[in-house]
């Protein structure tokens, strides 16, 4: 037997052992645990602000850690930092490459980052001495598009790429600290844990992976989706993982028991999920879809309890502010909307 064939057999055997191991810890289901819980009543959020200014499709947005600022990225070649209360543009940053697919706001509020078809992650300093926002670093070594980026701190950022890997970078030196390889398809999105010790990635191999940031190892591979995993996010307490896929469903996985807990699906929803965000308590899951809507799900009972309808094109990105007071949606219709 060739070495490749032996390794293949070993891999299959290990995957079977993991399935058996999981079964050993599956002594209840979420459905059983919430059998006596009522579905939440209808959730109706209204558009409070519309942020106008981008001239083309918006691909990404990210709330700052402060409660009212956010950054958005559009293929009009601009990164805009917004004061969502006044709808004023705090910064309008022209990009070298207009093919941007992601943006991120550092928890400190000092930096923003973006990237896309240029295969690079560009870091901008918002608090430069002379008030001008300039490129601080260009992180280049991915061999595929940058699909997502998220700051761990002002000195570290994680990126996910169409080259099937994620990278942890040292922003100061502009070098790779750790390469997280293992996905068999383009990595589409990533999320950092609330305690910053781990992160999760969703990919076109239909799986999500949970990684330890310090030792670089994959601790969990979450399967079940039947198409690309486009959107991913930690459950607010860090113990759950939410995924959204082109198979028109979202799923909740429990990290501690390594189980798939529930699927959020409806026969009338036949288009892909583009983005997702949990509400502050995690009781609601807000998910953006290709059909221009955001569906609001009761996360425990897996029933739809609301819809955010207002965009004239695909909802590409969504985020809930850190105090849970507002939700922001970004769309291919070039607008961002603030809802609560």
């Amino acid at each position: 037997m060739g070495e490749m064939e032996q390794l293949r057999k070993e891999a299959e055997s290990l995957k079977d052992q993991i399935i058996v191991a999981r079964k050993g810890f599956a002594d209840t289901t979420l459905q059983e645990a919430v059998a006596g819980t009522a579905v939440v009543s209808r959730v109706q959020l209204k558009t409070r602000k519309t942020l106008r200014g981008h001239l083309a499709k918006i691909y990404a947005m990210h709330w700052g850690a402060g409660l009212t600022q956010c950054v958005s990225a559009s293929q009009d070649g601009k990164l805009i930092v917004w004061d969502t209360l006044s709808t004023n543009k705090v910064n309008a940053i022209p990009l070298k490459s207009s093919w941007v697919m992601t943006c991120a706001y550092a928890p400190s509020g000092n930096l923003v980052a973006c990237g896309g078809l240029d295969n690079m992650c560009s870091i901008y300093n918002l608090k430069g001495k002379d008030g001008n926002v300039k490129v601080m670093r260009e992180l280049a070594s991915h061999t595929g598009y940058l699909s997502c980026c998220r700051f761990v701190s002002d000195s570290e950022i994680i990126t996910s790429s169409g080259d099937c890997t994620c990278i942890l970078w040292d922003i100061e030196t502009g070098t790779e600290k750790t390469i997280f390889a293992g996905h068999l398809g383009d990595c589409m999105s990533l999320g950092v844990a609330p305690d910053f010790k781990s992160f999760i990635s969703g990919a076109c191999d239909y799986t999500a992976k949970h990684w330890d940031i310090r030792d670089g190892n994959c601790t969990h591979t979450l399967s079940g989706h039947e198409s690309d995993v486009n959107a991913i996010g930690f459950f607010p307490n860090g113990n759950g993982i939410l995924t959204g896929s082109d198979d028109a469903t979202c799923k909740l996985y429990d990290l501690r028991s390594d189980q798939e807990l529930i699927t959020y699906q409806d026969a009338t929803i036949m288009c892909g999920v583009t983005s997702l965000a949990p509400s502050l308590s995690g009781r609601l899951l807000l998910a953006g879809y290709d059909d221009f809507n955001v569906n609001i799900w009761d996360a425990l009972k897996a029933e739809r309890v609301g819809v955010l309808a207002g965009h004239d094109n695909r909802v590409s990105c969504i985020g809930v502010s850190s105090d849970g007071m507002a939700c922001c949606t970004g769309s291919w219709d070039s607008f961002l909307k603030i809802w609560n």
């Binding site: 390794l7 191991a21 289901t29 645990a33 099937c164 028991s257 995690g282 009781r283 996360a299 425990l300």
Partner: protein
């Protein structure tokens, strides 16, 4: 999806060995904890409690003032 070459296959096997060793807890404990955590947070979730949004900074103040 990619076909793996030999070094990638070796890394996949090593990764699977580590993933097998991941610590797992009984779901009866972890799911109960998750549900409890959510239910405790619901009262403070602005999307589930209209009164938390009474001072909603994104809504324009009314033009009338009670004297």
């Amino acid at each position: 999806m990619e076909e793996l070459d030999l070094p990638q296959m070796q890394r996949e096997v090593e990764s699977l060995k580590l993933q097998l060793q991941t610590n797992r807890e009984k779901s009866s404990v972890t799911v109960a904890d998750l549900v409890k955590w959510i239910e405790e947070g619901v009262a403070n979730d602005p999307f589930l409690n209209a009164d938390l949004l009474r001072t909603n900074p994104w809504v324009e103040g009314g033009k009338c003032v009670l004297l």
